[in-house]
Each structure stands twice: as C-alpha cells, then as structure tokens.
Symmetry: C2
Subunit: 465 residues, 2 copies
C-alpha cells in the first residue's frame, strides 16, 4: 500500500513536463498544453517536450525529458500509444514523481493493449512512481490553479470528483456550472492501470477543501480496499456514487470504454449501503445529491413540513415522500395557531400546508420562519412555481423563504422546490448571491430529502457504536 | 352524454362576458381580464361585468350580465365564492352557452363547499349549460388567440393538455417554452363539477391541431367513461398521462387541492395500459414523453443503434436500455464495413459504437447517415456532450446528426443525447430552427426510446385485431 503522500505530486506539482506538447489546435494535446500553461497562481514550472523541438505557444520545447535539468514532479504523456512505452522508460530514468498518461489505445482495446498497459504499470511500480490513466482526460486542483486536463475548469467549491469516464466528468462540470456548484479536485482515472479509486478517495478524505465526494465508476479492480476505505471516509464526509455498467449490455459497453470488467451490481450495491455511501440511480440523482450536500446542512431529525403555493407540486412531492418512507409532522395546536395568523381563512391547517395561489412573498417568509423556529419540524420543503400572473417577480416567493432561512441562521435544511424554475435568471441570482438551494421537480426535491435522511440516519447509527 | 359540440363555445367563443372583471393588479381576476382583452385575432366580442360598473382597462363595465344585449357564448366567473351561486342564476337566465368558474372555495374546502358545488352543477346541467371548474386557472385555444386563463401563453404547436392542477399546467408551459414545445389547447378542470376529463379528451381527439394529448389528473369521477374514451383516442393519437395522488399522503393532499378522492392507483395503472395510454412516473418523464411525440416520428421496428463520442453516456444509456428491455441491433458485416469507412482504426465495431473523443461533425454526419439509410436499424441514438476542448462549437456534433436526418427525409426516429446540453444557446437554436429533438441525460434518452416502442407496439397490436 502506498501512502496518500504519493499522490501529492499529482495535485500540487511544482514542476510539470508536458510530453507531446503541441500547438496544433486540432489535437487534444493542444487543449491540455494550453490549460497547463495558464498557471494562474504561478504554482509550478512548466517544461514542454516534443519530438519537433522549437517553440510551442511561446515556450521552447526540448526533444526528450532527459534533456531537462530540473527535477519533475508530474509528467503528462500525450504522445501516440505506440510511443508511450519508450517515453515511460525515459520518465523512469528521469526519476519523475508522478505520471498521467492521457493517451488512449491500451486496455480498452483488447488483450494486446492490456498487455502493454500491464507492462507499463509494472515498470512504474518498480520505480516507485505513481501513474494515473492511461485513457483519461487528466486531473484538476482548483485552488492550486492546476488544470492538467483537456476539459473545462469548474467553479471553486467543495465537491471533489473521481470519475472513470472523462466525458461524464466533463458533462457534470457543465451542470455544476449551471447550478453554481463548485469543485475542489477532479480526477479522471480512465483505465486505472496504477492509481485506484480507493487511493484518491483517501486523498480527498483528508483534503480540507473537499466537503463532499463524487464518484462515477464502471468497474473496480480493488473491491476490498475500496469497501474498507469507503467505510472510513463516510464517517467524515458524504460520498455520492453513480455506477455505470450495472447491466450486461452496459458492462459490455464499459469494457470497450475503459477496458475493465464491471463487477456484479447487486454485490456492489449492498457493499456501498453497508459502508455508508450514497448510491444514485441516475445522473440527475447524482447531481441532486451533490447539490443537496453542497448547499444544505444536515437535519437534526426526520420530521418534514411542506408549505406550498402550488397544490399539484405538493401532491406529487407527497407521492414520492410516501414511496421513500418519509414522516410528515402533525402540527400541534400551538403551531397551527401561529401558522394561521399569517394565512387567509381559506387555508386548511394540514401538512402539506396548501397556502393556495394568493400566498405572496410575505406569506412564504412568515410561514417558513415559523416552521424554521419550531422544534416540531426538522426539514422544510417550500414549494412554489414561477408565478405566471399578477405581475409577480419570479423570485419573490423564494426571496421570502431565503430571508426566513437567513434570519434563523441557516441551521435547518430547507429544500425549496421551484417547479421548472431553472431558466429564470432572477432565481439563479438568488442562488449565486446567497448560496440559496433550488430544486426543480417534485421528484428532485423528494430525492434531496431522501439523501439528507439517509445521511442523518447513517451518522446516527455509527455514533451509537 | 353530451356531444363534443357542447364544448365548442369554450374553445371558439364569439362573445365572452367576464364577470368580476377588475383593473386591480393585485387580483387574479386582473390577469385573466387582461389576457382575454388581448384578443390578438379579434375572434370574439368582450363584455365586462363588475359590481363597480364604470370603465375597466378602457372598457365600459355593466353591473349584471342581464344588462347585456348580445348573446354570450362563454361567461367567465371571477367573483368571490359567496357570490357565485347568484351569478350562476343570472347566467342561466341570460342563457349563456358555457361557464368557467375560476373562483376557489368549493368542493376542495369540505362538505359545505361540496354541497354548493353540487347545487351549481345540477342547476347548469338542467339549463343545458356546460361548466368548467370551479377552482381553475381557465382554458386556452392558441390558434384562436384565446387565453381565457390567468396563466401565461405557450408557443403554438401540437400538444393539447387537460390538467386538474393549474400550477402543474403553468409549470409545464414554462418547460414547454424552454424546450420549444408548442401547444394547441389548454384546459384546467380544477374541481371538475361538470365537464370531465373524458369529454375534453374526446374534443382533443377530433381537433385537427392536436397531435399529442397530455393529461395531469389527481382523481377521476367518471372512470368507466374515461377508460372507454381513452381506448378510442389512443388509436388516433398518443395520450400521455401523469397521475398525482398515487399514495395515501398524496391522495390526502389531492383532496385538499381539488376536493376529490383519488382512485386506487394500481387499478388506474392497469386501466391506462390496457387502453393504450402512456403513464409516466414523474413530471420530467411527462415532459420527455410529450417532447418525444412532438419532435420524433414513430419507428417502423424495434432495432436500436447507439453511436457515441462519449463512452460514459452510452454505458449509462445501455444500463437503462437493458432495464427497459430494448434490443440493440447486431451490425451485419456489410454495415460494419460501411461504418468503418468513416471511422479511425481505434474504433471497435460494436453497438453501442464508441467513436471515441476524436469523432467530429463529419464523423457524426456520415455514421448517422449510414445508420439512417440501413434497413437493419429502426431507431438511432447519437450520444455526445458539449465538447469542452479543441475549440469545437457546442452544436457541431449534433449539426452533423441533423444534416444526416434531413438528407434522409426525417423518416426514422433519432433520439440525440447531448448530456447536460440544455443551457447552450447554440443547441437551442438548432432545435428551434430545425425542429431538431434534443435529450439531456442517458435516462431521458432511454425513456424517450421506451415511449416510442410502447406506442409502436400498441399500434401494431391493435392493427392486427
């Protein structure tokens, strides 16, 4: 077993060599060369290596890494697959500390590619060098200013991701950006010839910037170590997992994709649950889970209150709530009286509390605040929709909810449901400026509550042992 | 039983009386008054009725509908609940042809409200007048230029909706707008004291502008008639259904919402399947189904091909595909050869066909066109993501797919999957300008294929009887 320190040169390199650097904008190597050259914090020195030598994007390239004088923390290999083995030999001679092989065409191509991949893994292992890839888009460390990948940079924040698929990683970053969710670290493992999921998981676990860990995986080579690590890490941080290749057909596709056999899904499922991880069924649920733990504090209990200006939304929310086994609080006469003082007579004192269409910003403010202040309630789900009438502003209801939340110290989880509100800039501003959480369908809001309760109950269970 | 002609005065009125018209922008009646006054096609005459009399929004109001000289096709009632019964008596005296009661505070409030509602329903029935509502946002007929509701107007198109919940209807219209999906008719039934789902369903069935029918319902008063009508209508048009109140808790919420008891869900489910309707589990699936039938032609068989530039997306698509029981085609040697001529050597000839990250617009164009032209394939799922590298345009892959589709006459269904691409204006333009379908998660694309196959198999089954 390696220590997590062996991963530091990947995420905090002070010198990087890009082997196969290019200024040809049609090559993937160009994007990664440009991204590394950006170096906004000036944290690392960059050396370019290219068989062409000469100047590349304003930097003089040498023809071999062995021609460099300085030591190299991280070597990034972009050359075509047939040259990779000899480049790795040079990296070993140069005693680089870590290597990312971006190049594809190894284990995912079948037996002969797998053999080359295994040979490379054995060589670097013997040389005590760590290797990420091959067949990956690279890694990122946002606060360090490092984008050692050919994909786009996320916003800064608390999500750290390990993904087997580069494209799923890139797609998630688009969606994170769209929902103002920021990242700390990003790692695409690709074929995972050396560095494994459980190692990055451990690294993220002790990373102070990482608040929630996201894992997309298709196959595991080290199931036992992963399970044991997951069990440790979930005590500290929520770990959200999406698994590709859960079906026979999906497994075949996964094998072509990253060259590894997918494990039996029901075994995997049981393992994740046992270890306290949160396993999602879809990409949307994966985003929802990460959003929930990024924006919302954990509940101190499981009693839910729903307040709504949109009857249909709370009906649908209630359907999923029952399916997920939630407990709706029964309001005490005192709480009913307090709520009633802010509501018109037509409103029936029930939970879900349907305040009907006349509820405005003020109503949402007072009712949400009453519920946030009440010891009878642990989680509040305020439902609304962007009002298409009365010349109301799209964000007015949720502004009322936000003020109530702010004035009570943002201590209790709220899951504001704004049905199909994602396209309204006014709501996006509320989210961006005040870290106000927003959920967009009844199922999404119910799923968010479900994940909060899973985490709450898990932490409760382990604290009793 | 009434004939569907009894519904014509709702959707094509030549004279409308707004009873309770107001210019107070804080009242819901203001929004509906303004929407009706807009009258962009000049298809109807408008009379305003208000106890205040005088001028409202530039129109002279009378104090009673009985003061009007002309006949009234459609009376819209906005007055407070306690005045509604006497207003209805006046409408009956005036012999209006149809009435919409927007006002809430009837059956959804409990026994006494239910009694008033029943009395009103009996009176209008005896007078041979049809009634929509009470407790509804109103109706719309887009091509007629009629927005007799207090919610926003959709784009023009082929979806016609019947919804029990006004807010779910309004939320759907936001999402339809966001995804360039247009509507023909909109009806919110609210408490459904008189006009029932099956009647609007029949009306839409014979409406030449309606291509696909959307139903959101929480409860059915006339289950038998609905079933029989559904069975007839699904032979002509796809009918997409979302049911709220599928759980005990949801049923209670529904009862507060529209005052009617929700029926047993498993009975309902079996009934819809038997009658050839498409029952969705979530609001997102409801939108996906409507999008699919709005944008995509029906397949002539069930053989699916997946082409991808994003390995992870097709792995996840394959997982749902297997869960839904799809058949992936096995490419013949001839088709493999033809596909291979457009691909680099690294690509393995399989289905899903992973063209790896180097696939560009041209690759997508040629490969999709080959599959569209092949009798071996009935449905094509081109997967991509917005490329975050190589300075590619967000829409380039899908532009390749579009050209292939256009050049083959748009006869075969394509389900283009662009993972988390909804926020890119370039993709939106492709959709708006060319009616190009776009799906945004692997689950959504798989769900779209599922609905196409349900419809294909249902039409096959009934054509054999």
């Amino acid at each position: 077993m390696h220590s997590t320190q062996s991963l530091t040169p990947f995420f905090q390199p002070h010198s990087i060599a890009i082997i196969g650097a290019t200024d040809n904008p049609k090559k993937i190597g160009y994007a990664i060369t440009k991204n590394i050259l950006e170096n906004p914090k000036g944290n690392y020195k960059i050396s370019l290596v290219s068989y062409k030598k000469g100047e590349i994007l304003g930097h003089l390239a040498v023809s071999s890494i062995l021609d460099l004088n300085q030591t190299i923390d991280l070597a990034i290999v972009l050359v075509p697959a047939r040259f990779v083995e000899s480049i790795i030999s040079e990296c070993i001679k140069k005693k680089v500390k870590s290597i990312i092989i971006v190049t594809a065409g190894f284990g995912e191509m079948g037996i002969s590619g797998k053999n080359v991949q295994n040979r490379i893994a054995k060589q670097v292992h013997e040389a005590n060098i760590r290797l990420i890839g091959p067949n990956c888009v690279g890694i990122q460390n946002i606060s360090f200013g490092l984008n050692a990948s050919f994909i786009q940079k996320p916003l800064a924040g608390g999500i750290s991701m390990i993904t087997q698929s580069g494209s799923i990683g890139a797609a998630c970053i688009w969606e994170f950006n769209a929902q103002d969710m920021g990242m700390a670290k990003f790692t695409n493992l690709g074929n995972a010839a050396d560095v494994q999921f459980y190692e990055i998981l451990e690294y993220y676990s002790s990373d102070p910037e990482t608040q929630v860990i996201a894992i997309y995986l298709e196959s595991l080579q080290e199931g036992r170590q992963f399970y044991e690590m997951l069990q440790k890490v979930t005590r500290k941080k929520p770990v959200i997992i999406l698994k590709g290749g859960t079906s026979t057909k999906g497994m075949q596709a996964a094998q072509s994709h990253t060259g590894s056999l997918s494990s039996n899904f029901s075994v995997f499922q049981a393992m994740v649950h046992q270890a306290g991880g949160i396993l999602c069924d879809t990409l949307d649920e994966f985003i929802t889970a990460l959003k929930t733990f990024s924006y919302v504090p954990l509940p101190q209990g499981a009693k839910i209150a729903v307040v709504t200006g949109s009857g249909g939304s709370s009906v649908l929310f209630s359907d999923y709530a029952e399916r997920f086994g939630f407990h709706f609080a029964i309001f005490s006469p005192e709480l009913e009286k307090e709520l009633g003082s802010h509501l018109i007579e037509l409103v029936k004192m029930e939970n879900p509390l349907d305040m009907i269409a006349s509820a405005d910003e003020n109503t949402f403010y007072h009712v949400t605040k009453t519920l946030l202040a009440s010891p009878e309630i642990d989680i509040i789900v305020p439902c609304s929709l962007v009002p298409p009438f009365l010349e109301q502003e799209p964000q007015s209801h949720m502004r009322g909810v936000l003020h109530a939340w702010q004035e009570t110290g943002q201590k209790k989880p709220i899951i504001p449901l704004m049905v199909y509100g994602e396209m309204f800039p006014e709501l996006q501003t509320l989210r961006r400026t005040h870290r106000f959480p927003l959920f967009f369908t009844p199922k999404e809001a119910a799923t968010a509550v479900k994940y909060l309760l899973i985490r709450f109950k898990y932490l409760n269970r382990i604290s009793r042992h």
